[in-house]
């Protein structure tokens, strides 16, 4: 049976959900060895859903550093004769995965939508095309947060990483939190997005963010209002922004340019509020409301609060 290295990530509360989901995927592919890298991560690492967990807990590993982290992953792979490395498609996973693949001389599949022993599916052209593959050689893959069941957590064997931590010239000086407490777009179950129909950045703040907070949703945006400087690029959904696949995508004042649709049409349900009945967004929306968003959004927020 082949050995799969699962790179798990912690988030201050414990193991990230996406890591536990990937653990579930990995379990279907072989014998899973978890690997958690960081500083003061040992306690969380033990919760990773894998039969065995290797922990690289060291002061020098406090911040993600591709040079150090890729070397540690490669060493663990070699020591255990593994043939696959899986990780969540987080900002760390999408950065670490290709570097590890290059270091090992393995194939790489980034940001996979589906992964199992049957094969992999990843989105090309911002999700407008789905590409299937059935890699036979050794592989590194990063896998997106999805509806996968979370792997079953159990206290397996724990081992401390005993290899080398290479020096790196990268020096993380700080982490700046932006919009602390808000939910990350690519991890959210619900995304509430706003577009040009909002007419001003003040209206985005007054209507979209509070509604997102009420629905425990992430706040997204169309390219038009990102380009106009209303909200930072980290909010952008679509071809030059993020691709999201939440359970519900609520588009408010967004007409639905093809580039935007590419980034959200993988959502389970789409709802749209727009005054223009001809807006392309309605062609993909499961639930459309034609009307004035300035009247509808406050009513929606109030009713949701009183549920």
């Amino acid at each position: 049976m082949s050995t799969v290295i699962l790179v798990g990530e912690t988030d201050g509360r414990g193991i990230k959900d996406v890591s536990q989901q990937v653990a579930g995927v990995a379990a279907g592919m072989g014998e899973v060895i978890g690997l958690v890298i960081g500083k003061n991560v040992s306690e969380s690492a033990m919760k990773l859903a894998a039969g065995k967990v290797v922990i690289a807990d060291d002061e020098r590993l406090e911040y993600y550093d591709p040079v150090k982290y890729a070397s540690i992953v490669s060493q663990v792979v070699q020591k255990n004769d593994a043939t696959k490395v899986l990780m969540g498609a987080t900002t760390m996973g999408k950065d670490l995965g290709p570097r590890v693949a290059a270091e090992l001389g393995w194939g790489y599949l980034g940001d996979c939508l589906e992964a199992s022993s049957e094969g992999f599916v990843r989105p090309d052209f911002a999700g407008k095309v789905l590409a299937k593959s059935k890699p036979e050689g050794p592989l590194v893959a990063s896998i997106r947060n999805n509806a996968y069941p979370i792997g079953e957590s159990w206290a397996g064997n724990v081992e401390n990483f005993s290899g080398d931590i290479p020096d790196s010239t990268l020096n993380t000086t700080s982490i700046e939190k932006i919009g602390a407490g808000t939910i990350e777009l690519t991890e959210a179950n619900i995304v509430v997005s706003g577009g040009r129909g909002l007419e001003s950045p003040e209206n985005y703040e007054a209507l979209i963010r509070p509604l997102a907070a009420t629905m425990r949703a992430a706040a997204g945006a169309s390219r038009a209002i990102v380009d106009a400087g209303w909200v930072p690029h980290s909010h952008q959904v679509g071809q030059t922004g993020k691709t999201v696949t939440p359970d519900l995508y609520l588009a408010i004042g967004i007409s639905g340019a093809i580039q935007h649709l590419g980034g959200m049409s993988g959502s389970k349900f789409i709802a749209a509020i727009n005054k223009d009945p001809e807006a392309p967004i309605f062609k993909v929306a499961d639930y459309g409301i034609v009307g004035n968003l300035f009247e509808i959004v406050p009513v929606l927020k109030t009713k949701l609060e009183n549920l």
């Binding site: 993600y64 591709p66 900002t91 950065d95 995965g97 290709p98 570097r99 693949a101 290059a102 270091e103 001389g105 790489y108 599949l109 940001d111 990843r122 090309d124 052209f125 911002a126 999700g127 407008k128 095309v129 789905l130 299937k132 050689g137 050794p138 592989l139 790196s168 010239t169 990268l170 993380t172 000086t173 700080s174 982490i175 700046e176 932006i178 919009g179 602390a180 808000t182 619900i190 629905m215 990102v226 930072p232 071809q239 030059t240 691709t243 359970d247 093809i258 993988g266 349900f269 709802a271 009945p277 929306a285 499961d286 409301i289 034609v290 509808i296 929606l300 009713k303 949701l304 549920l307």
Partner: protein, 253 residues
């Protein structure tokens, strides 16, 4: 400062995506410079304007010469020269082989700083940059929204979940650029004229057997039903219908 900027030519976002026999039909594609790479060019040119040096563009593509005008446009905004590696069987879906070929050429340039976009808007793997960094034996920082140069030290702000990771690094280093990094300028007519005289070097390259995973089948995502409008006399009535649907059908509330 000697800067190499890697450019990927990608299908225009308006290109029609059609699947025939499990493959994306590519003949009708028009190509453009990957938008994320444009941010890299702009930032590289700004550094050159501040501290002097040279900006070299390196691209790997097929024999198709229709892309030359777009690459010249990147020289019109200030890059000094372009090297295009021409490969007959070029595919943008081979990050590992492409990274190996590109890194050979970049190595010869002895660049202090190597820049490219965070990802191509064709295959979205975000892989080629970090792979090239590994093949060059230099560190990389990806998804950078702000890059500052002071002396020979760079400070990069890297977009992460819920914030930014601030990283200081000496050169050489490879940086992949996120959208907020720089506003790409419109070239003046004079610069467009000048760009026509800048060096544009076409080089033939062979193929490199890489470890890339072959796509076995492409398909279009299942068409969405869509098109359902919730009718109502008042905003209240429409919202009630929406909430009902979200509760009972979508089960998200």
């Amino acid at each position: 400062m000697n800067i190499a900027v890697l450019i990927k030519m990608v299908p225009d976002t308006e290109s029609r995506l059609e699947i025939i026999d499990g493959k994306v039909k590519e003949d009708g594609f028009k190509y453009m410079v990957n938008p994320y790479d444009e941010f890299a060019v702009e930032q590289a040119v700004q550094f050159k304007e501040t501290v002097g040096g040279k900006v070299t563009l390196v691209s790997l593509f097929s024999d198709n010469a229709s892309i030359d005008t777009d690459l010249r446009k990147m020289m019109a905004i200030g890059a000094d020269e372009t090297i295009v590696l021409r490969q007959q069987e070029y595919s943008g879906n081979k990050p590992s082989s492409n990274a190996r070929i590109l890194s050979e050429t970049v190595k010869e340039l002895n660049a202090d700083l190597i820049m490219c976009g965070v990802q191509g808007i064709d295959y979205y793997q975000a892989a080629t940059g970090p792979m090239i960094a590994h093949f060059l034996g230099v560190p990389h920082v990806s998804g950078v929204t702000n890059l500052e140069l002071s002396g020979d030290k760079l400070t990069a702000s890297r977009q992460i979940e819920g914030g930014l990771q601030i990283i200081e690094t000496p050169t050489p280093v490879l940086i992949t650029c996120q959208k907020d990094m720089a506003k790409v300028r419109f070239p003046a007519l004079k610069d467009i004229m000048m760009s026509k005289r800048k060096p544009f070097d076409n080089r033939d390259v062979g193929s490199e057997s890489g470890e890339d995973v072959q796509t076995t089948e492409c398909s279009l995502p299942p068409a969405r039903g869509g098109g359902v409008i919730l009718e109502g006399e008042s905003p209240e009535e429409k919202v009630d219908k929406l909430i009902e649907k979200l509760k009972m059908e979508a089960k998200v509330l």
